[in-house]
Amino acid sequence: MEESRFVRTEMLAPQAPPLGEIGWIRWLRDNLFSSWLNGALTLLAGAAVVWLAAGIGPWFANAVWNAGSLAECREILAGAEGACFAVIHDRWLQLLFGFYPDTLYWRPTLAFLLLFVALAPALFPAVPRRLLWFTAVYPGLAYLLLWGGTIWGPLVALAGVPVGVAAFLALRPALPLLAPAAGLVAPVLWWLLAAGPVAGLLAAALPWGLAPVGSAKFGGFMLSIIIGITGIAVSLPLGILLALGRKSDLFLVKTICVGFIEFIRGVPLITLLFTASLLLNYFLPPGTDFDIILRVVIMVTLFAAAYMAEVIRGGLAAIPRGQYEAADSLGLDYWKAMRLIVLPQALKVAIPGIVNTFIGLFKDTTLVVFIGLLDPIGLSTAIRANTDWNGIYWELFLFIGAMFFVFCFLMSRYSMHLERRLKTDHR
């Protein structure tokens, strides 16, 4: 009897999935046209992109890179719509360095590169700790490279640190509680009273140094970076102190810190810059006249310190109470507990916030244009006042915007990277 059963002995070859379920069609369906609303949005967004590209495209395609003036550009373009990037070609060094003497461009460039070496121990865990000594002397070195002058000014200023340490060590056996105060007061006295004459004497005896460059020659991105970096570097310790003050149990200290932070955060940066430019001369002893860049840096530092204090306060709040209690139970005093237990953890948590504050501060340095400093935007005004380039517009702003974008974007990516890195070893 013949078997009526059928048993398949060989497997059917798998069929190709329907066209709509594979490849780019599937991708389109999933990502662009998953619903009517999404489809409409896609079409709308696509139309916007095409419209923008069609509007701006020819302007870039016809760009002129080599011309001596806007009039020449217009001649070359002969009526066509096109960018005149010749102005960037002509002035890009000025936009980067301001009026810094062009034979000395290596100095700010070197200072900028060395900055990364100085920051390396903080940025990369793999870098040997010994490099920290370079971080410590970097401010003096950068000052010397940028402003020039004798090497004694920065050296004598740096000497304030050993003076403070010496005072601290000398007093510690006799008056252990007054020693930290002495360690703070001694360098201040050194800087206020002794540093000037000593530096003068040394400079007269051994005139070593670099050609001096005045602050009036500083401009462009160099100025933005100097103000931004100095502001953030100085505001970090100030911000830590303010944050600790705000969390302190001491009523008066807390009140004053809160008052300071809220005042600075309550007024726009531009009013502080105007204070630097218009009012600081009223507040300082008669006859004091110091560098406008320094005045701006001081105000920007105070401004950043208030924001930094809030960022660090957030970091402090993220530390579990148990950590404070553990420090107390070990018998550590307040400063030791803060220095060894709390702050290392709090700062780690606060690093992304610190980087964001820095990005904000760096962008805000453009406001110095309102007090007549020639940052990139200020320089764009000056360049447009030149008869060759009067009437140029988008090209300069495009360049300035692109420079800021690159700088800030890299920083924000770095902060995201840090956030991820710290997350893994914190949890």
Binding site: A71, R74, D90, R91, Q94, G98, F99, D102, T135, A136, V137, P139, G140, Y143, W147, G153, V156, A157, L158, G160, V161, G164, P187, W191, L192, A195, G196, A199, G214, A216, K217, T230, A233, V234, P237, L238, F274, S277, L278, N281, G287, T288, D289, F290, D291, L294, I298, F370, G372, L373, L374, G378, T381, A382, R384, A385, N386, T387, N390, G391
Partner: protein, 338 residues
């Protein structure tokens, strides 16, 4: 620790900055340069070139001071100031002299405590409009939108002018000249008002200067000149007479080309006194006897500077007009050098 190091460095800089005392000339000599406040950018009057060297008519006043005091016109540190920061910069000693198209008014002289040392450009506020607007007089601007530069006397003059003529207008205040021009050219304002010299200077840079007209009304007097802090007459004298030397040199026909020739001695005692070959005018100002000669050699006389920075041969194309020598029917007139 980084904080203290930085602060220390800054403190040294701060102290090194020195103090502004009454004897500005001594301070300037000690510093080895003159701090000169200029505009952040006004075509023909002050603007940095591609090498960062400041050029222009106002800038030349400072260069002349450098030539008179140091025999080197490059010993000037230019400080860019905005309309808002200029007076504080001068009052606080941030600059020693302000050469920034600033109008001489009584209140600035008396109330803001400055001394105007002279007038290097006689100006007046005018209007520029597009030809196709069909306006021939400022009195036809009723209801117009007018761009003005803030922080200057122009906004007060404008308010007065429209009020007196019983007209309404829409003011559009703008921070910088470059920005205001961009708005005017785009048609965001019907008229742009500022000093007539500035209007001419700006029109020269337009793509189509023939389509714009400067209206005949000049609604104010704007004597522009360098100014110094009140209270240091010696310094004011130096600035005043450096400017006068340039004006007088043009009057006597001394140019940068023939000054060396004339310095060997001439029959005109006024020229001899000016160039320091006779008398001791330089010593009276506590300057080198050849101070005026240096100005003329290194910077040029008033007419030369005018012609090379804003004159008719330049893109700015300003006529001498009121700024011709008094002998030519203008107002530029230097007191005698004796």
């Amino acid at each position: 620790m980084r904080k203290s190091i930085l602060l220390g460095t800054l403190a040294v800089v701060g102290l090194g900055g020195g103090a502004a005392s009454a004897a500005t000339l001594d301070d300037v000599r000690a510093a080895g340069q003159i701090k000169c406040g200029v505009s952040t950018g006004l075509a023909g009057f002050s603007a940095p070139d591609a090498n960062g060297v400041w050029q222009g008519f106002d800038v030349s006043v400072c260069r002349a001071l450098g030539a008179a005091i140091f025999a080197d016109p490059s010993k000037v540190q230019f400080v860019s100031t905005t309309g808002q920061t200029r007076f504080t910069a001068l009052a606080s000693g941030e600059v020693d002299v302000l050469a920034r198209n600033t109008t001489w008014t009584l209140s600035r002289d008396a109330d803001l405590k400055f001394t105007f040392v002279g007038v290097n450009y006689y100006d007046g506020q005018g209007f520029i409009v597009k030809k196709d607007l069909g306006v021939a007089s400022a009195r036809e601007l009723d209801g117009a939108t007018v761009c003005i530069q803030t922080g200057t006397t122009t906004e007060l003059n404008l308010a007065d002018f429209f009020r007196v003529n019983n007209m309404t207008y829409e003011p559009v205040p703008i921070e910088t000249n470059a920005e205001a021009l961009q708005q005017y050219l785009a048609g965001a304002c019907d008229a742009y008002t500022t000093d007539a010299s500035g209007l001419a200077a700006s029109r020269a840079t337009f793509a189509d200067p023939e389509n714009h007209i400067i209206l005949p009304e000049i609604i104010s007097k704007e004597p522009l000149g360098p100014l110094v802090r009140q209270g240091d007459d010696e310094w004011a004298d130096i600035v005043r007479w450096s400017l006068n030397a340039m004006i007088a040199a043009e009057e006597y026909g001394i140019t940068s080309a023939n000054v060396d020739e004339l310095a060997k001695g001439t029959t005109n005692p006024e020229i001899n006194r000016l160039l320091g070959t006779e008398g001791n005018l330089g010593a009276m100002l506590r300057l080198d006897p050849a101070w005026a000669r240096n100005i003329i050699t290194m910077v040029g006389n008033y007419g030369e500077v005018f012609n090379s920075t804003i004159g008719e041969a330049t893109p700015i194309g300003l006529a001498r007009g009121l700024n011709a020598q008094w002998t030519q029917g203008g107002l530029q007139y230097s007191p005698p050098f004796r």
